[in-house]
Symmetry: D2
Subunit: 313 residues, 4 copies
């Protein structure tokens, strides 16, 4: 093969450092384990990969870069990947090793993931699709300096506590018209499924660790599912649908409540996380009474969340 | 300027006729009238424009094509556009006039559109954004052969009748426990806001006419709004929110019900439409208990809809 | 379990027939065979499923509907699916069997699909992601009345012939300044890679058959890939990149050319298709010199395409 | 009106602080001035608005919140808005004033924006659509502590320098075959438009200031346009298209080059920006030879960029 010019190694017109150079929208097959006795599935994941670039180098050798990424992915795909943030960590470390001019490598991935659930009343198995994501940042120097992020976004159902309380007031008024005393009326109105607006909500949790072992993505998914008014299901027979509506209406939640429930469950479930781990928790409700969405978010270290909850635990 | 080659006028490698040649994703400013004493607003609309191409011509002169489109749009934008399907009709006619080799020209546009509404209880004015669209197809020959389509998609709220009826059964059981007789219990349970799952729904209507005058897009929008369980609002104070939830729960609707309500209202409101006009009506509910959506659709001529409804009107 | 009301079986408020009632955005795992000695992969596909609904029935029993769909999919997923339009056909037939009130069932699916390719110069294996889709429509009556559609959309590269011819004129002028004679200059300018604008293009082919055996989706993908100026690759080393740029520039194509090339190859490759099969061929170029896209399309029967091409084959 | 319960003011189940509570996907009409003698246009912008929430309050009164946002927007819309980050700043300040429990308010907006440009050779006026965005964060305390961000994303064209250099080598070889000497061949190959892959690129710049006056969004847009290989145009006649292709090929740029050019121009053009201003510059190329995109980014203070460029200015 004839000798091809290496334009990337030239000097740039302006000696500016670059924070990230790389590729986005890179789709690759990734084998995902699903635990227990279920067979692994191979999903198409979407990657972003970056390295930094010093001010004296024109380009990051993107063409060679892609070859490197592919090789690392290929090698990882040939064995079961138990933790997607570990996969990102290995790619980031590999990129750093092969780009002698880089001091930092960053890898992000997103994928759909299948979980099996049982319908609440009829106990039929159905599949739910959740979004999972992971990131890793490797820095030149001690190999243990590897930041890893893992998380998930899950769709569920939320019912508004405020509108329900107003509706409940109307029910109590109607009961008074029937001649019931105030306490009986209130008790009755607490027991029956009183209307409120409800909607799809999307909860998400991401957890960032440094030099620590992995987080179970299945536990993250469970926490998000349990923190809304009800789960949603791909299949609901009539008794299931009744149970879902009942549960959601006896467990109404604002976006704020969902985020706080997730925070409480993260603290409860992830005892092993160091105080320095950073947790980002979000809830978006696609309000059925508006075109816009309600939103709440908390970003904090595990240490901060533990301190805030210490008064009530 | 030197003489540039006209590759488009050459013969193609294979003598295949083309149904559509043109451009998509063309964004242009369009002035939209809002009726009454409101000032017109200028919105960015997204266009698609096509002509057909005979088998003996390599290309459709896209570069010249864009110039033509621009000129027609520019001219129309300088005066108020009362009906967006008229705008599409003029562009289609213009394209046909300027492409001597074409026998058919097609124009599609989509835009967002602002309507002003009042909150239901507190009567505060708020803006709602709806999607509007129009199309026109002009054919070479008699100028009157111009097909025009106009329509809108509007977000509203739907509450499920089936889940509500099951919940109502539970309320009646509870009332029996309080010692109420069956008829009083049923009457009470019909009057109070009993829970059900509810969600954002998106209704749409498109109407296709030939050689007929224009359709009011504002009437189309009103019909869609009135055919779901309740409208949605950009702003709801607490009494408004109570009223919206009450209304939606005393007017529960399946996707099928929404489509049939729209069909009935179209027949009722558009007396002037000829029997040959084609109506497409859709409803998509973003089910709060599922990740997937419920969907219903009817496509029919005005004549067919009138015949089906004649038994009940 | 107590007896739950069947609201769906009631009469609707307005006796309007519905063309389609069902669900959209239904995500399911589908096992896809990849032929040869490659192992099957399991992909998340997105489904739409509909039946029609007579005017005397309020609802389509969506909840039961989903159960049916799931069962059919589950059964199909347990064995290799060689042809995705067959899968859609089986679901459509199954839906019709289980909805006694329906006369028509329609199923659509979309999925990503992995093909393996070799880089053109260095012969490294890399993965490409293409979009595949299928549909089926079953009608009550003779079981053989099953319409099936299968197709794919593939990303490739297109280079503009018109701009290249203008640039070539400039090169010839420059050569004249060097003292070369006209013929030598023209010959030289035909041989070297003269600049033009080039861009990502997306070609798609869908083929609709009735009562006929299946179409190979891999052949469809090959035809789309070969009908643009060049393929694109997930990985290109420097000699590969040179070869891709060379090939694209010695094979410039308008959107119109891409559609006609696909049409010619479909006629050539699918000898077994009956004249009544309907073919839809599209090309969208994401023009590098514009924000909008260039578009061309042909919809025709195989019989029509064969007739048009008979003069040149 | 009867007395409605204030559920939001209750204590939450878990005393967790929330970083952001608010709404996303809020669409509003915003009047945008276009400078000079052009008339202002009214565009639909998309907003996100948040306040923080202390651990002792269940909800952020979203319903009241929306009312507040609307009022502020309404008031601003009634007069010309010269700078969109000023608009965000006023909304953020307004939110903070009305949410007595909040210590921080954040507002983000995105909009499309129209700029008029002339085609390069034929000097026809055409419109280009660019994306603009702004943010503001207000904190309780001294009113001057207001962080503001403004920026834009613009589509242009980029041509790859590396592939072009390889192609140029091939041209030089061919010239040698014609008997030209090495220097003449190299000179000739530098002068003619040699092929390379080129594509749509998207450049973006955002600038964050504190307690400083506003940034001209038009200057930001100009800088992005000038930092790619060529601008793109909504309309190009044949001589314009030739000029665009010529210019792009005599000005090839990697993603890295585009970011560095933007950085250099920001330093050159925004003399008035304090050293603490934070600049984020990105370039994404939708590679015509790949399905994935090339990406480069720099985030730095103006002080850092000035220091890096001091050696070469």
């Amino acid at each position: 093969m004839y000798d091809l010019p290496d334009i990337q190694a030239c000097s740039p017109d302006y000696p500016i450092n670059l924070t990230r150079v790389g590729a986005t929208g890179v789709k690759k097959l990734v084998k995902v384990e699903r635990g227990g006795d279920e067979r692994p599935i191979v999903l198409i994941s979407r990657f972003e990969v970056f390295v930094d670039l010093p001010s004296d180098r024109k380009g990051a050798n993107l063409s060679r870069n892609f070859e490197v990424i592919d090789a690392v992915l290929e090698e990882e795909i040939s064995r079961p990947v138990y933790e997607i943030e570990e996969l990102c960590g290995k790619i980031a470390t590999g990129l750093l090793a092969r780009h002698e001019y880089a001091t930092r490598a960053e890898v992000k991935m997103k994928s759909e993931y299948i979980v099996r659930r049982q319908t609440p009343a009829t106990k039929i198995t159905c599949q739910e699709v959740v979004d999972i994501f992971a990131e890793a940042v490797a820095r030149a120097g001690p190999t243990s300096d590897l930041k890893k992020i893992v998380g998930a976004e899950v769709v569920g159902m939320t019912a508004c506590p405020c509108a329900q309380e107003i509706m409940r007031g109307q029910v109590i008024s109607e009961l008074a018209n029937l001649g019931l005393d105030a306490e009986t009326a209130r008790n009755f109105a607490e027991k029956i499924p009183v209307a409120t607006h409800n909607q799809r909500g999307r909860g998400s949790i991401s957890i960032e660790v440094k030099n620590q072992r992995c987080i179970s993505i299945d536990r993250i998914i469970r926490i998000i599912e349990e923190s809304m008014s009800s789960r949603v299901y791909g299949l609901l027979k009539r008794p299931d649908e009744a149970l879902v509506v009942s549960r959601a209406h006896s467990n109404p939640k604002f976006v704020e409540d969902c985020v706080r429930s997730m925070a409480q469950r993260v603290v409860e479930s992830f005892d092993e996380l160091l105080d320095g781990a950073v947790v980002t928790i979000k809830q978006i409700n696609e309000e059925s009474i508006h075109q816009h969405n309600a939103f709440a978010e908390r970003t904090a270290t595990m240490g901060e969340l533990r301190a805030e909850l210490s008064s009530c635990m």
